[in-house]
Symmetry: C2
DNA sequence: CTTATTCGTTATGACTCGTATCTATCGTGC
DNA sequence: GCACGATAGATACGAGTCATAACGAATAAG
């Protein structure tokens, strides 16, 4: 079948076969953004999951851990060490709810809100740098596309 | 401080604080695509890494494992079990190179090429379904944006 | 021959995430 | 009051991914 190609010593190894796939490109972009995000949050002693949790708690004071897990798309067990850490660092409070003593009501403390504000600013600035080459319109297109992919894939609203 | 909000029993837990961040949306989209891709490749007994490896080998016959690792952005040690599996399944050959007996020259076998073709079709079809809501222009915008994010983040080419 | 470098490989550990399971609590029906 | 199923939080365990360190074999340079 004339499989004999002299591509052997080729110095150029191409991605060409994978580039047409959006999923592949998305993975590469995600790797970059993930690395940048991790580095951005590291000075604040936050990981992506703890930062996300802080943000959702800040937006939904008094929510339960189960609600938080749903909002973050993680399983409940994986949230336990997160809330443990946030609580032990004094960033969130876990108040017992009188009406249902099984659940905790999660709220930001003052220092939690302050840290969230600082980290949010840092993340926003880093994202702006990463997307400097992208126009505002492209950025909006991206987010809209992501949400559509999300809903197409999961079927949820 | 009038912290007393009745958001406690709120049934609606919002993502609002995170949605403006592109990274967050990208992660969600990636989760969806990753799940779909995994399910798509599973009937072919392929994982993302093995499929990607097949595709790159098919496009660059005779390349070394080190070159493959670079093309796939994974560390060399993590590629060993991949090439082992592909070789033991008879999908790729590892021929010794006379000029440099340290390296292996990786090539697809006939069945490897056949499997790659079938899997590529499957992945392409699934991607088309996922991106059905996206126009062709949006898809091109997405890929272009990804590549720009990639190069901005890594500084490479 | 000696030294440094590269390839493929092994071993190891960090990190993420999901499933199964347990206890405590709530709600419902008897 | 008491049994039943369901839910919240927590624990334990395992699968999967990924990077680092280090080793033998082979190559290249001195």
């Amino acid at each position: 079948m004339s499989v004999r190609e002299d591509t052997d010593t080729a110095k150029t190894v191409t991605d060409a076969a994978l580039r047409p796939f959006l999923g592949f490109n998305l993975r590469r972009a995600w790797n970059v953004i993930h690395a940048d995000l991790t580095a951005t949050l590291e000075p604040h002693d936050l990981r992506m999951i703890t930062f996300s949790a802080l943000a959702v708690i800040g937006d939904n004071p008094g929510l339960s851990q189960a609600q938080l897990a749903t909002a973050l798309s993680v399983e409940r067990p994986n949230l336990v060490p997160v809330t443990d850490e946030l609580a032990s660092r004094g960033l969130v409070t876990r108040e017992r709810v009188p009406s249902d003593r099984r659940t905790y009501a999660l709220r930001l403390t003052a220092s939690g809100a302050s840290l969230l504000a600082r980290a949010t600013t840092a993340v926003h600035d880093h994202e702006s740098a990463l997307y400097a080459d992208l126009g505002e319109a492209d950025r909006a297109t991206l987010i809209a596309a992501f949400r559509r992919i999300e809903s197409t894939g999961t079927g949820r609203s």
